[in-house]
């Protein structure tokens, strides 16, 4: 038995992708857990932003959502979605957008809207929130989600948040992100099995590292991915340090709200 779970490893792998001092715009859940873990370990100067208007949040207790009073506690300034999303984000002040989603394709396009036909979905989700805005305007985005065939799909059922190949307005034709006039783009996908990045020229997802310490193999990643994925460059990822696990369990999410201990 492992001394930690794949969700913990995922949160830890996500936190390692943040550099000190970066402005990180986070969604609720795992993005928030990863970012707070980074802030309590190697990036004390990262600036945590939330779409509801929270700025430089450094909560004592894990916020339950991006508007939680826990995220407001002792912040130096507070704005609204007009400032954070309409000004900071649109004016290129956000280094990293950190997002979850229900489906992702090989180009990092994300779906957080529905399964099936949009007009008559078989499953409906809560919707974009700020994810679409963040995927379009952050200088880079990190995606974090469970690794399953039904989630890593050939085509997303609805393209909520644009990745590297996007739907052109108004005809929906598949065009490159650059052609659509967008900057930024997906930087990494962190899953319960490993960390994926995107080829610098083709922008196709490949496996950069896998959770070898947990017994994950590159083949297992292929088997759990609904499209052909290159694993030839995959390297084992360093297991969690004692510090990472301790901070995650004792400081960031002691209740197990997201880590589900």
């Amino acid at each position: 038995m492992n001394r930690y779970s794949s969700v913990e490893m995922m949160a830890i792998a996500g936190s390692r992708l943040i550099t000190d001092g970066e402005a990180v715009l986070v969604g609720t859940g795992l993005p928030l857990v990863s970012t707070l873990l980074a802030k309590h370990t190697h990036t004390p100067n990262a600036v945590v932003l939330m779409e509801s208007g929270l700025y430089d949040s450094n909560p004592e207790s894990l916020p339950f959502c991006v508007a939680d009073p826990r995220g407001v506690y002792q912040t130096p300034w507070i704005g609204s979605a007009i400032e954070i999303m309409g000004q900071f984000l649109q004016n290129k002040m956000v280094d990293i957008g950190f997002l979850g989603g229900a489906q992702v394709d090989r180009f990092g396009n994300l779906n957080s809207t529905c399964i099936g036909d949009y007009a008559k979905p078989t499953k409906r989700f809560e919707g974009s929130g700020g994810a679409c805005d963040i995927a379009i305007m952050a200088l880079k985005t990190i995606i974090i989600m469970t690794h399953e065939v039904k989630r890593f799909v050939e085509h997303v059922d609805y393209l909520t948040s644009p990745g590297w190949m996007v739907h052109q307005y108004p005809d929906g034709k598949l065009v490159s992100r650059e052609e659509a006039g967008l900057w930024g783009g997906p930087y990494a996908v962190v899953s319960t099995l490993g960390v994926m990045k995107f080829h610098p020229k083709t922008h196709v997802m490949y496996v950069e590292s896998y959770f070898a310490d947990m017994g994950v193999t590159p083949e297992e990643i292929s088997q759990n991915t609904g499209f052909l994925i290159n694993v030839s460059q995959a390297k084992p990822l360093e297991p969690p340090t004692e510090e990472e696990l301790n901070v995650l369990r004792r400081v960031v999410d002691p209740e197990g709200i997201f880590m589900k201990y």
Partner: protein
């Protein structure tokens, strides 16, 4: 525009809302929602409402489940990590002849739409939406209604070339101009000055964008008290039409400095909202059963309300547990 703020009872205030009105609900997902006003809307059986929260939380899911809603233009409807919005889902999933319609937006574009409304502008430009299915005309769920429904802009978005600088393609999003804005705040002055602690979200802009603004508050206070520190006040009285004193008026959502989310409420609500018949029973028990807000608070009981109370220095309750599968442990403590 003349200031003419009235203090009304909850019943009187909500009776000013008409069937078919477009309504903006203040707050954010599970924080500072005007729940007391929303419960009363259900009691008064409002119909065919258009909702435009940015984003939506339990107040939207509840109104959908109670059959009050015709259409929503909202970027997110949900209860955050508590669980899924089952009434919203049921109204859209596998439905052959929908009676309810939902248009997806984003946090930024929804904010710009309400900002445009607050400025008296017909639209504002944005760099968002390009590349997303949210922008595509073929996937616009309201496309057949736009030409005939005066409450809807005649198209979802427009794209123009920036006429001033580099000539980039820029998206225009239409203003939101709600009939009614519902806000719950910590305090409101007798002439309508609104004091909000914690996040103000889009409430100031929504108040300026809306025709009728109803503010409920934990307490109504003398204006002289609020004039001591105007920098803490969020909305000027000129924009506020009706005020209602409503302690615990945001329950079960969190109110910074006063009370936290009520996890027991969410546990009950989520279990009930999974099925239509169970949800109707839940409405009978919790919304129609208590005839007034006071009766609702009595039903909740002072013990439960006491458990939710926030630490005044932190703004939240540091002892409350938020994992619904482990609430039993807390009850025993």
């Amino acid at each position: 525009m003349r200031r003419n703020t009235k203090i009304l009872s909850l019943k009187e205030a909500v009776s000013l809302i008409n069937d078919g009105d477009q309504i903006f609900t203040g707050g954010w997902t599970v924080v500072r929602r005007p729940m007391g006003l929303v419960y009363e809307m259900v009691r008064q059986r409002k119909k065919n409402l258009y909702l435009c929260a940015n984003p939506g939380g339990p107040e939207v899911d509840l109104l959908i489940g109670a059959g009050c809603v015709y259409l929503t233009e909202i970027n997110y409807i949900g209860h955050e990590v508590f669980g899924h919005p089952y009434n919203f889902r049921r109204a859209l999933e596998n439905v052959d002849e929908p009676q309810y319609f939902h248009d997806d937006w984003t946090v930024q574009t929804g904010a710009l739409r309400i900002l445009a409304g607050s400025m008296g502008l017909p639209f504002l430009p944005t760099r968002s939406l390009k590349g997303s299915d949210i922008a595509l005309p073929a996937l616009d769920p309201l496309k057949d209604k736009r030409s005939s429904d005066p409450k809807l802009p005649n198209r979802k978005i427009e794209v123009i070339k920036d006429p001033f600088w580099e000539g980039d393609e820029i998206v225009l999003v239409p203003a939101l101009r709600p009939d009614v804005c519902l806000i719950h705040a910590q305090e409101v002055g007798e002439s309508g000055t609104v004091r909000i602690q914690g996040g103000t979200f889009l409430d100031y802009h929504a108040a300026l964008a809306s025709k009728l603004v109803i503010v409920s508050a934990e307490r109504i206070v003398p204006e002289s008290e609020l004039r001591q520190s105007p920098e803490f006040n969020a909305i000027p009285g000129l924009a506020v039409d009706v005020i209602v004193e409503l302690p615990h008026g945001a329950h079960p959502t969190a109110l910074y400095g006063h009370y936290d989310n009520d996890p027991w409420w969410f546990k009950d609500y989520l279990a009930a909202s999974k099925q239509e018949d169970l949800f109707q029973s839940w409405l009978d028990e919790w919304v129609f059963g208590p005839k007034t807000h006071e009766e609702y608070l009595t039903k909740l009981g002072s013990k439960r309300l006491e458990k939710l109370r926030s630490d005044p220095n932190k703004g939240y309750n540091p002892d409350i547990r938020r994992r619904l599968d482990k609430l039993e442990e807390v009850v025993k403590q």
